[in-house]
């Protein structure tokens, strides 16, 4: 569904490329987390998916369309919804439902159809009751859900979250993650850029980036075996994984699939 073919990207005036020779394929309805430290190129990668940035070398193909072709850009952006870090800086209008309507209005969708889309989008992020509220009265987590509703109203097939949880408090982050998982179950392809390793345990696949290169690309179960590579990339594995490893080192036989607190409890209890 998304294909990065030998993608290299260098910002103007930069000495080193932000992305170098990335090869990546993301399939339909996959939930992929992209993790990496500051400056690893993860956000740059995300901005390539909807053509906000165009590769210096190589090609990015989304739903069969190349991002470098300007005629495709509107159709690509309709298929790839993108949520950003700062919840305040991505809402355009004062009233919630008007903001959700912004995307379809840009596409020239008929007014009645926009109404239906807005109501559906608000329902699927659980914000129907706030339809006529002013956005500055909402919490960070709620604003982020409105931003996602605004994207859903475009009926995209891929949702890219560019560190969308970074500025949220723990409850806002949980709210957002739950929404994203629900959308994934409903068939959405998800690309989630994040610094929080705890958020990645429920994904299908984790891509670890360092210095513009992919250093690991596997299921969470496999990725968290390589604690050393994660540490080298300045990433801290989730606490449950650290606890698991600590228990292992003192002789408890715990399996690799122990990634969440629930699974940890399940395997530890019989051993006590």
């Amino acid at each position: 569904m998304i294909r990065f073919d030998h993608v290299t990207f260098q910002y103007e005036k930069a000495f080193t490329p932000a992305l170098s020779d990335i090869d990546l394929e993301i399939k339909e309805n996959e939930f992929v987390a992209i993790v990496g430290h500051n400056g690893s190129g993860k956000s740059t990668l995300a901005k390539h998916v909807n053509g906000l940035l165009l590769p210096t070398q190589g090609t990015v193909t989304v739903c069969g369309m190349q991002t470098s072709d300007e005629d495709n850009i509107l159709r690509i952006r309709q298929n790839v919804g993108m949520a950003f870090q700062n919840p305040d800086n991505q809402l355009v209008t004062t009233v919630v439902e008007e903001d959700v309507a912004f995307g379809p209005e840009n596409l020239g969708v008929a007014p009645d159809e926009i109404r239906i889309r807005v109501d559906d989008a608000l329902a699927s992020v659980g914000m129907t009751d706030f339809a006529t509220s002013a956005v500055h009265h909402l919490s960070g987590g709620q604003k982020q859900r409105i931003a996602i509703a605004g994207i859903l109203a475009l009926k995209p097939r891929i949702l890219v979250l560019d560190e969308a949880s970074a500025m949220l408090d723990p409850s806002g982050r949980a709210e957002l993650l739950e929404t994203v998982h629900k959308l994934h179950r409903e068939g959405m392809t998800i690309l989630m850029v994040t610094q929080y390793m705890e958020e990645t345990t429920g994904c299908d696949r984790i891509v670890v980036m360092k210095g513009g290169k992919v250093v690991l690309d596997d299921t969470p179960k496999e990725v968290f075996k390589h604690t050393d590579i994660l540490m080298e990339s300045n990433l801290v594995p989730p606490e449950t994984v650290s606890v698991r490893n600590a228990l292992r080192s003192i002789g408890y036989a715990l399996s690799d699939s122990v990634l969440t607190a629930e699974l940890l409890a399940e395997e530890v209890c019989p051993l006590l």
Binding site: L52, F84, Q90, T93, G108, A110
Partner: protein, 266 residues
């Protein structure tokens, strides 16, 4: 602090509130024309009656109208006095040697003052009964025909929308910066006016920088949501011109016509 809005909209459900914003803008323009057509103090009664009817129908309390007049109170007093002193007339009421109080001067002073009060009160009726968003929509629609002269109607409306959206956000931001500077020992309260104005600089500069960053973020977010200018754009909320709107316009025109007839006859 976060709840201040541009203008002074008072939410309500009256006939006036429910009128199409375009109707209300047209009504205001006609009303202003009326007050300017009048050249005699007694005929100001016509726009006055019109304003009273609108006020009663809108259910807006007189207090808001009086509030909207507050900022111009000094201007009013000044205008009144100037006219009182410098209007020349024949019918002298009082002769102080260096200055004569005349019949004409008193009338002229009252006439101009009342006219300004009526103008400001009428304009406030528009902003009191129309939400800024509706006002923006209405302006965009009304200005759209000017596009043939390359007038950026959509861009202007979009700019107003974004400005309205970011007023509370920037208020929050300036409060945060202010607190941050105060915790570093900045003093905003003491000193004379120049000192205090100067002490605003450490708030304004970070606020400007952060606004630019916000603008950049917002532009990227808007592009990601397929924004490509006003061409081919539709709106979810369609403005509807209903029979109430037609009725309101007709009544306003009736007032204008009546005024013109009276002006011609007398």
């Amino acid at each position: 602090m976060r709840d201040i809005t541009l203008g002074q909209y008072v939410a309500g459900n009256s006939v006036i509130h429910k009128l199409d914003p375009r109707t209300k803008i047209a009504m205001m323009i006609l009303y202003i024309a009326m007050t300017f057509l009048v050249k005699d103090i007694w005929f100001l009664a016509i726009p006055f009656v019109y304003l009273v009817i609108e006020l009663v129908l809108s259910g807006i309390s007189l207090k808001y109208i009086l509030n909207s007049l507050k900022p111009i109170r000094f201007l009013l007093i000044l205008m009144f006095l100037l006219n009182l002193f410098f209007t020349k007339g024949e019918n002298v009421w009082l002769d102080l040697g260096f200055w004569k109080l005349t019949d004409e001067a008193v009338l002229q002073s009252f006439f101009l003052s009342i006219r300004i009060v009526l103008l400001v009160a009428g304009a406030s009726m528009l902003t009191l009964t129309t939400s800024p968003i509706a006002l923006t929509d209405g302006l965009e629609k009304l200005l759209t025909p000017l596009k043939i002269f390359h007038f950026p109607a959509h861009e202007l409306a979009m700019m107003m929308t974004i400005a309205l959206r970011f007023v509370p956000t920037l208020m929050d931001e300036s409060e945060k910066i202010r607190n941050a500077q105060m915790s570093r020992g900045a003093d905003f309260e003491s000193g004379n006016i120049f000192k205090r104005v100067k002490s605003m600089i450490p708030i304004l500069i970070p606020l400007f920088v952060s606004s630019f960053r916000k603008a950049d973020d917002l532009a990227i977010a808007m592009e990601s949501r397929c924004y490509h200018g006003g061409d081919g754009r539709t709106r979810m909320h369609q403005l509807k011109f209903r029979k109430e709107d037609l009725f309101a316009i007709l009544i306003t025109l009736l007032f204008v016509a009546a005024l013109i007839v009276i002006l011609v006859l007398f």
